[in-house]
């Protein structure tokens, strides 16, 4: 099947700088795709080209089979966009804003159903300008969904949210998956990408530096895990079996071992500790987080 978004060699030059320096992307139908990157990495420029708001310097781009630079009303009927920052429609309630936008489409979704989808039933008759930040973003999502698009762009949908508002927003985005929508999500929150995305691409300095699933991004699945624990008084790292001493990465009050085979080494550690009759109450085993991978990938060259 034809990909929903297909990008080859996309380049955008501002003056002497390539904000986007030749990227390739492919997004399949029904996928939730997260586009990660630090501020100024080229995320928003890329999204705005895909949304048809900016022209490109070079490269091939199709979105739902159409070049967004020539996107007409038929194409816009099939694409929804939640922009990074947009105020409420002045003077209109939540329901009136949706009535205004539903009039733009030939076959819009039901207004009350869409209000329920984003969980704003209680606020349907409240003026959009009186909503909280999180509620306003949910209104934005509703406005993008009212046309029943196949593809939805979400540009940093939870920036500035408190934790509970983020959970609610994630719930709404999960709901889009149930509806079979394709979602192009940009974010700089790792946990958000990990929670929601089927696939992630990381952009830094205008280039894609890694692409994969949340589990495999940047070789995360083959990166070393860490085992950390504190030894009781009177026991030193010299007392550890040789096999574990070889993994010693850090010994600053708390002992840190790094290993490719965490199960084997936790087993060895447990045997040794049990044989000596000591407990390791703060033992933890940690895979590298997506954040670790991301920070490594997007680190500015010194």
């Amino acid at each position: 099947m034809e990909p929903v978004v297909s990008v080859h060699g996309l380049r955008k030059r501002y003056g002497q700088v390539d904000a986007v320096a030749g990227i390739d992307l492919e997004i399949e139908r029904g996928e939730i795709f997260a586009f990660l990157g630090p501020n100024g990495a080229g995320k928003t420029t890329t999204v705005e080209i895909l949304e048809g708001f900016r022209t490109r310097t070079a490269g091939e781009v199709t979105v739902l089979g159409v070049d967004p630079a020539n996107g007409d009303a038929d194409w816009r009927n099939r694409v929804g966009a939640v922009l990074q920052e947009s105020n409420a429609e002045p003077g209109l309630s939540v329901r009136e804003s949706l009535q205004l936008y539903s009039g733009y489409y030939r076959e819009p979704r039901d207004i009350d159903e869409t209000i329920a989808l984003v969980g704003l039933e209680e606020k349907a008759d409240t003026s959009g300008t009186q909503l909280s930040g999180g509620q306003r973003r949910r209104l934005d999502a509703a406005l993008a969904l009212i046309g029943d698009p196949e593809l939805i762009f979400l540009d940093e949908p939870t920036t500035g949210f408190d934790p509970s508002a983020r959970r609610t927003a994630w719930h709404v985005i999960e709901g889009l998956r149930q509806l079979g929508k394709t979602v192009f999500l940009t974010t700089h929150y790792m946990d958000e990408a990990e929670e929601l995305a089927d696939r992630i691409a990381v952009i830094a300095g205008g280039r894609i530096v890694a692409e994969g699933t949340p589990g495999t991004l940047g070789g995360r699945n083959s990166m070393a895990s860490t085992i950390r624990f504190t030894l009781p008084v009177g026991t030193g790292t010299d007392d550890l079996p040789t096999e574990l001493r070889a993994l010693l990465a850090n010994e600053d009050g708390r002992v840190t071992l790094t290993t490719q085979t965490p199960l084997v080494h936790v087993g060895a550690l447990a045997q040794w500790a049990l044989a000596r009759g000591i407990d390791l109450p703060d033992l933890d085993v940690r895979r590298p987080t997506l954040e670790d991978v991301y920070l490594e990938l997007t680190e500015e060259p010194a």
Binding site: T44, F53, A73, Q84, G91, G103, Y105, S127
Partner: protein, 263 residues
């Protein structure tokens, strides 16, 4: 039921205009400056300068109504439009609307229709109030001419508003900018002060700008010695030239995206 988009461009323009109108009516500042202030000025002017009979035998208020009608058209078309369009552009509202299938020209036509509607209503209120409270002389046969001039003036000032908005980078600057442009023009263009009191060199300057011609065109219908439908074609012509200039600027420079956009 079919949506406005499915019923065609005209239905879509009316749809857009209706919600733009709601936005204006629910904005306290817009309500005061466009709907109330022109009438308030009329009451104040009569209060200060009186309403005695002046040559050629009309109440003095007959001179205030056309000037304040021009003010009302400009307030609802130019002042209000520049402020709201700038705020909507910087707030990402125009961009969000452009992300939908609605054509750009429909958004512009809808917003313009709203301004024309508000202009006509406020002018009608001024004339009716003036006629029945202050005994303003109105030639009924010239009322279609007043309406026509008000519509042309409103469209001209909307276009000029779109043009000016391209030079304003944020909404805080919009209000002082439009007032700085309009206040001096109001004083020299026969809106607040009768043209006969203004030195000719100043009047010649005023005649370059559209405010003078809107006020002059509206005034013809209140001239008891006048005749015909009350359209002054020379004034309409100058308004049309300004509209063309505004259109050229707006078409080349208008942007739907915030000026303060991030890369």
């Amino acid at each position: 039921m079919k949506t406005p988009a499915a019923r065609g461009p005209l239905a879509l323009i009316l749809h857009q205009s209706r919600y733009d109108l709601l936005g204006i009516l629910r904005n306290r500042q817009a309500r005061f400056f466009t709907l109330i202030l022109p009438l308030l000025f009329l009451i104040i002017f009569v209060g200060i300068f009186g309403n005695h009979v002046v040559p050629p035998g009309v109440k003095l208020s007959t001179y205030y109504v056309p000037g304040l009608s021009a003010l009302a058209v400009i307030a609802s078309s130019f002042v209000n439009l520049v402020i709201s369009i700038t705020a909507q552009r910087e707030g990402g509202i125009l961009k969000r609307r452009r992300a939908t299938p609605v054509p750009a020209w429909v958004l512009i036509a809808g917003r313009t229709l709203t301004a024309v509607t508000v202009s006509l209503v406020v002018v009608a209120v001024l004339i009716t109030f003036g006629r029945f409270v202050y005994g303003v002389s109105v030639r009924v046969s010239a009322l279609p001419g007043v309406a026509f001039t008000a519509v042309v003036g409103s469209i001209t000032f909307c276009v000029l508003g779109y043009a000016l908005s391209t030079a304003i980078s944020n909404e805080d600057a919009a209000q002082p900018m439009v007032q700085a442009i309009m206040l001096p023009l109001y004083f020299i263009s026969g809106v607040f002060i009768a043209n006969s009191q203004i030195p000719s060199w100043l009047r010649h300057i005023a005649q370059v700008f559209p405010v003078y011609h809107l006020a002059d065109g509206l005034r013809s219908a209140f001239d008891p010695t006048g005749h015909g439908v009350g359209i002054v074609w020379s004034d309409i012509g100058v308004l049309a030239i300004w509209a063309a200039i505004g259109l050229a600027v707006a078409l080349t420079r208008f942007s739907w995206l915030p000026k303060t956009a991030s890369a």
